[in-house]
């Protein structure tokens, strides 16, 4: 491959798009600030789109082969679909949560339960509220319901 002819902004733009998509769940979701809102991913997508823009422009410069005029818009389109999928999964589909109107409210009694811990030992909410922490009776319990791994 002739390195001078390689449409590097196009391919770099494509790689940055993929990285921007994948890095949200696997990297940036590990910090509160970049998880609660994709502050790291949006600039990455902007950089990717700028690169793709120059890549497509370059593909249509005089002297380029027809091949690159087909490949460049295709790659740009795939990248745009990835951007759209990101917007869909992180802003729209992630809000499709049940209303949970029957969930216990503040000042209501929390329903008791008895569930198995990682050693298959049954543990109830009452146990959790009475077993000491560092030899002192606990002040309370924080229940964290999560989706599981799945």
């Amino acid at each position: 491959m002739n390195i001078k002819r390689l449409n590097w902004p196009l391919w770099l733009g494509f790689l940055v798009t993929i990285f921007a998509f994948v890095s949200y769940p696997f990297i940036f979701a590990n910090w509160e600030t970049t998880r609660d809102f994709p502050w790291a991913n949006i600039p990455l997508f902007v950089v990717a789109l700028v690169l793709l823009f120059f890549g497509v422009r370059r593909a249509f410069a005089p002297g380029r082969r027809l091949f690159s005029k087909i490949v460049a818009p295709t790659i740009a389109l795939i990248s745009l679909l990835v951007v759209a999928l990101f917007i869909f999964t992180s802003f729209i589909a992630s809000r499709w949560l049940p209303p949970s109107t029957g969930a216990p409210q503040v000042n209501q009694k929390a329903p008791d339960f008895s569930l198995a811990d990682t050693n298959r030992k049954q543990v109830s909410l009452t146990d959790l509220l009475t077993q000491p922490i560092n030899d002192k009776p606990p002040k309370g319990v924080l229940l964290i319901y999560y989706r599981g791994y799945w």
Partner: protein, 108 residues
């Protein structure tokens, strides 16, 4: 979960016990805890007993199309009363330890 683990000493100090609950089996949770280094309590609710009682069922959202829990956090005092809760509107957004520790100040 990671942020809870990072702040576990502080939770212990104020006497708040974090407990994670999901539909994962005890073995799956144990694997997760070993891999991620979580040392607080993980409970297994594969039949959605507690999840249903707390009205947190998210139907058909599991990878095999099974029912799972939607993310939610409840701070419960020693009398068993809910003192603070967070039902997120976007599953990327979770309660921060700083919020929880702030809410815990009001709990005797």
């Amino acid at each position: 979960m990671r942020s809870i683990q990072k702040n576990l000493d502080q939770f212990n100090q104020v006497g708040i016990r974090p407990v994670a609950i999901s539909v994962d089996t005890p073995e799956e949770s144990r694997d997760l805890c070993q891999k991620a280094g979580y040392t607080f309590t993980f409970l297994s609710d594969p039949n959605l007993e507690a999840i249903r009682r707390y009205d947190l069922v998210h139907a058909g959202q599991g990878i095999k199309g099974h029912d799972i829990a939607r993310p939610a956090e409840f701070l419960i005092d020693k009398s068993g009363t809910v003192r603070w809760r967070m039902l997120t509107e976007n599953y990327w957004v979770r309660a921060r330890p700083s919020q929880i520790l702030e809410a815990a100040k009001a709990v005797e």
